[in-house]
């Protein structure tokens, strides 16, 4: 994407479960691990709380990427929440891809409270991938009119 401003940085919306991934993000901070300041974290009680609407909404409102992060399967604070998350987003990821949305823009990761380094690494990697793709225009509302 040569037309993109060299200073451009992606905007990533991250839905993090309260019990694991949000704590993982905290740990990354406490451990002073560095990762790009591209992610805006929204804390949710469980990754199972993340409605497909939320993901789409983020894209509609200008996100360049969306991350859903939760406890590792089997470790859910509510026992089974993330098992449902997994099914839901396995499907949605494929549907988005089928409609031509780049897979890198929507990712799901399991990040425990002890995995501060993984959180930093996931954000870094996702940022690089989206940086390479450039700003997202697809699904974005607000400024486009068919006329």
């Amino acid at each position: 994407m040569s037309s993109v401003d060299a200073d451009w940085k992606p905007l990533i919306v991250g839905f993090c479960c309260n019990w694991c991934s949000y704590a993982g993000a905290d740990l990354a901070g406490i451990g002073r691990m560095s990762y790009p300041a591209t992610i805006r974290i929204i804390r949710v009680p469980c990754s199972g709380r993340v409605n497909p609407h939320f993901v789409i909404r983020a894209f509609q409102k200008g996100a360049d990427g969306v991350l859903v992060a939760g406890c590792h399967p089997g470790d859910c604070h509510y026992s089974t929440g993330n098992f449902y998350t997994r099914r839901r987003y396995l499907l949605m990821q494929r549907l988005l891809e089928y409609m031509g949305i780049e897979p890198a823009r929507f990712q799901v990761r399991w990040i425990s409270a002890a995995e501060g380094a993984k959180f930093a690494q996931v954000v870094t990697q996702m940022t690089e991938e989206i940086q390479a793709l450039g700003p997202n225009k697809k699904l974005r509302g607000g400024c486009t009119c068919n006329e």
Partner: protein, 318 residues
């Protein structure tokens, strides 16, 4: 056809007289040769309105939801897809199975009027059954065809023309169930590159006028208040542009994921000719590939793929 019509009229009358149904849902002849719209029969004297022909395409399942509040039982004539739609609604708790009486009709498949028009033109068209097919007569002349030559695509791919879970089934012959690959069109699209797929759907979905016909005919879309009818939060504004249309279809097909019975009504209802079945079938294909074989609407007790899980589900998320 005529024999089935006679049977329907007779059975509807009998069941209403016996008190097994207080009203009946079926089809009547519409204003034109290609139309056999739904009809509600309120008393035995009206059963003459009922008909059975190759245009009884409309899925009647959807009407039962609005009839739930009525006293007594509603009798319904059901094809394979109607029956699956009703199983779907029963499974979702949207209707009470005890308040409906299902009379099954083995379905031969329905006609696509456009295919007939292509062969014999529009206007005065008559379609007469032959021993081994149909005789079509129209402004462009006469043609002898098999039903499959003019059947709706969705009927050609139908895996369950025989109605399931009925209280009784009228005598008749259903078409052969389709046993081939129902995902062929999906595979073709999947093989394209990401940008080509985007362009394909951009072209198709930019036509969407958001009339919501696809949603309103869908027996899996049974929410009392749809998210797209909500003002607060307003998930999707009223602007029809590509992004909004994509969002609408994405969310709708996520909502019916694992619940779509593949009746193809969305695609038939769409005035803009958007190939919606290719989206429905994609989700269905993935449900089957990821979570094991599953067909929605076969059993009113079924476990829904997105309402359950297996700890050993595939996991590509790391």
């Amino acid at each position: 056809m005529q024999r089935m019509t006679d049977n329907m009229r007779k059975r509807a009358g009998e069941l209403m007289a016996e008190g097994k149904a207080d009203r009946f849902l079926g089809w009547e002849k519409g204003s034109f040769w290609w139309q056999s719209p739904p009809v509600e029969i309120k008393e035995a004297s009206q059963t003459e309105r009922l008909i059975w022909d190759l245009f009884c395409t409309a899925n009647l399942a959807k009407y039962l939801q609005q009839m739930q509040s009525l006293e007594g039982k509603t009798g319904v004539f059901v094809k394979g897809c109607d029956a699956r739609g009703i199983n779907r609604l029963v499974r979702d708790g949207a209707i009470d199975r005890d308040k409906v009486y299902l009379v099954g009709i083995p379905c031969p498949g329905m006609i696509d009027p456009d295919k007939v028009r292509e062969l014999v033109g529009d206007g005065q068209v008559t379609i007469a059954p032959l021993e081994d097919g149909l005789s079509l007569q129209g402004p462009l002349g006469e043609r002898k065809v098999t039903l499959d030559e003019v059947a709706l695509d969705k009927c050609l791919l139908c895996r369950h023309p025989e109605p399931l879970g009925c209280d009784e089934v009228l005598e008749g012959k259903a078409r052969e169930p389709f046993t081939g690959d129902i995902y062929e069109e999906v595979r073709e699209l999947e093989e394209l590159g990401s940008d080509e797929r985007y362009d394909y759907w951009a072209e198709e979905l930019s036509r969407c006028i958001r009339c919501y016909a696809c949603r309103n005919v869908c027996p899996a879309c049974n929410c009392v208040k749809c998210v797209f009818d909500m003002d607060q939060p307003n998930w999707l504004d009223g602007a029809t542009n590509l992004a909004n249309n994509q969002v609408y279809q994405l969310i709708r097909f996520m909502h019916v994921a694992g619940r779509c019975i593949d009746c193809g009504e969305c695609e038939r209802a769409c005035p803009m000719g958007i190939p919606l079945r290719k989206l429905a079938a994609k989700v269905d294909k993935d449900v089957n590939e990821l979570f094991g074989p599953f067909e929605a609407g076969l059993d009113p007790e079924e476990k829904l793929p997105l309402g359950t899980f297996d700890p050993n589900d595939p996991d590509s998320f790391e």
